[in-house]
Subunit: 217 residues, 2 copies
């Protein structure tokens, strides 16, 4: 499969690297054509790894992964170009987090979410929110954490959620551990989990954890 | 121990009933002296179960449990009277939830929380936020859900959190399953988990579930 990973931060490079490892063709997209992190990444990964602008990455891809921060997601996807997103699966793994005066704050929050904003801004994209509830190292290697812990998918397009569930299985998340929370509106629920994730991360002193939803039967 | 449980809804009556069952003296507090639900509850439980106003309940208690909704918590505790809360443990199990046009909404949210507001309004109370992340039936009978699933405590007073952890053990939550998230500010984190709880509850069609935090070692 041909993937665009938008964002050259740790999340983008880690997801991109794992996808290349799995045999996919990946273009790491950035604001500018000559982003040194993206160039370096493409050189290190070699073969199936490429670097380009957001638009070049999206144009070449069958599936687009938003790996820039939630607060700049619309801008990055806008630069990628609606014409390069139409009809494609857009996987949003972002959180709308920023630290203000040392305090973590989400924006949007509660009455809206990044996932919903992306779907609204790009109505012909098939947006699936997932993986934002775990650290990037856990995203691509869930075996770092013991147990039948879960990830979530939210989105309007059932077929897109099925395809993303298959991608998650490649990462190491079997389908039974992927909980479908319904439409893209439930992106609010998974984005608002972030403060609890941060509190747990602070308590444990690391990011190697996740939640397992337990219930009878 | 002598408990006040403020609130005559399902949460208050269930927590109160379990405390009586455990051998404690409980006054179920309500806005008015002659609340029929509270009278009926006290009659049914008999012996160690009493009904009274918020102020009567708090005055008689060593520990006060806030079991009214998060949006009316300050009002109920105000009616209980600061002089009846000073120096006492105030356990807040509430969520600031209301449905507006069919949509669940939290208020306060993100930059504030019910737990913090209570501690700020009653600076001499020893506020501990806990149990708001599970259904009331799971609160008092965690064995309804399999596994080593967790609850959280947040608060400024370490001794108060220890005493509440002992109470949780009476309910069936061994100390190893009680995660201390630090000061009362982290009440934001556990209150903002509610939308994910609601999404899961909608998916499962019931409230018999909880999360287990998994990590290596």
């Amino acid at each position: 499969m041909r993937y665009a990973v938008l964002g050259t931060g740790e999340v983008g490079r880690t997801l991109g690297g794992r996808l290349v490892e799995l045999g996919h063709e990946v273009t790491l997209g950035s604001r500018t054509k000559d982003n040194p992190l993206a160039r370096e990444w493409a050189t290190a990964e070699a073969g199936r790894a490429h670097a380009g602008t957001f638009a070049e990455a999206a144009a070449a891809a069958e599936v687009v992964i938003n790996a820039v921060g939630g607060r700049v997601a619309l801008e990055a996807l806008g630069a990628a170009g609606a014409e390069h997103l139409d009809g494609k699966i857009v996987v949003d793994v972002s959180n709308p987090l920023a630290f203000e005066d040392g305090e973590p704050r989400l924006d949007p929050v509660e009455s809206d979410s990044v996932g919903e904003r992306i779907q609204q801004a790009f109505p012909h994209a098939r947006v699936v929110k997932t993986l934002n509830t775990v650290d990037v190292q856990v995203m691509v290697a869930p075996g770092r954490v013991p147990g039948e812990h879960n990830v979530f998918v939210c989105g309007e397009d059932t077929g897109a959620k099925q395809q993303v569930t298959a991608l998650l299985a490649e990462f190491g998340w079997p389908a039974r551990r992927v909980l479908d929370l319904g439409g893209i509106r439930s992106a609010r629920a998974v984005e608002m989990y972030l403060p609890l994730w941060l509190a747990l991360s602070q308590r444990f002193g690391n990011a190697d954890f996740n939640i397992e939803v337990r219930r009878p039967g």
